[in-house]
Symmetry: C2
Subunit: 204 residues, 2 copies
Amino acid sequence: MHPLLEAIAQRSSLNSFDPQARLDDSTIHELIGWASRAPSAFNLQNWRFIAVRSDAAKQRLRQLAWDQPKVSEAAVTFILCGVLPDTDQLPARLQPSVEAGFMPANMPSSWQQAAKQLYADSPRARRDEAIRSATLAAATLMQAGQALGLGACPMTGFDAPAVATHFGLGTDEIPVMLVAMGRAAPGNWPQKPRRPLQQILELA
Amino acid sequence: MHPLLEAIAQRSSLNSFDPQARLDDSTIHELIGWASRAPSAFNLQNWRFIAVRSDAAKQRLRQLAWDQPKVSEAAVTFILCGVLPDTDQLPARLQPSVEAGFMPANMPSSWQQAAKQLYADSPRARRDEAIRSATLAAATLMQAGQALGLGACPMTGFDAPAVATHFGLGTDEIPVMLVAMGRAAPGNWPQKPRRPLQQILELA
């Protein structure tokens, strides 16, 4: 089986992590470097990552996440923040693509116009985009973790306003997901069975 | 390099697809089978996929997506729908895990209570969850596509209400993303440069 398919087949959301395992900061840097290569609309890269890896910070986050043990037992629990799109920042985000020689010099400003059209006067469109971007980054983070022999559990059961306050998120930042990551302990479940294809797929 | 990291490094959002390439329905079935193995909160699997692969349907979708040629030139453009969580359906979604022998029989109802707590009285929490689930499925779909030698472009620039109407989405379904997928034509850009790590990562 192709390794990319094998990874999908073997992935499951961990509940039990080896609480002794740690990730050093250089590994965290490497993981977030990979996560940041996820796609985002207009290459806005509207995300920020908080790697919660000290005992004190993990305990505090665990309290804000229904006291779920995996938050503190995982080596690191990442807070994936989506950022509300700010189209004023788009030219700077795209300038490296111009400098790399493949993007025409006038394209950042035309993309900026398109982005303004998409997000202007629509707080919901901006929030949706923040959630999509952070979620795509979460998926890429978990894929990179698998490559490093690490398991993960994406979590949405937490007190989002309290997490935003305690961890100092900006007013334009949304805590979209927690991703607990570390070494699997024994006793995790296999991947759960899925709905049959005929319930979820339509051909047009 | 580990194949999972190589896939992250080599992925880029395609703009040019081979317009002659097609995907047969069995390949579409296979791709969506893999996509459905993405994680979702409580294993709700709150997603639905419309594979737009006929010429007429692709042309119509393209008109609703800023007339972007890749929508019709890709072999298939998938509409990734997120479904607003319906906690009444959760026991049925988890029953196969009970029958498989690893989930205790009383757990679906306790998860249902937790899910009700998370989503009750919060239309925004339900919408956010629909967007997260469909986006995780989109990431897994693109990973499976890479395994099959296919490139992709995730897209959020489309008229969501019009897509929902034209393709008959239910009132609980949100068109979260389009994913154009097919064989790459020559001339696509490389992956765009990313922001430096110090702008996006905080250690706690």
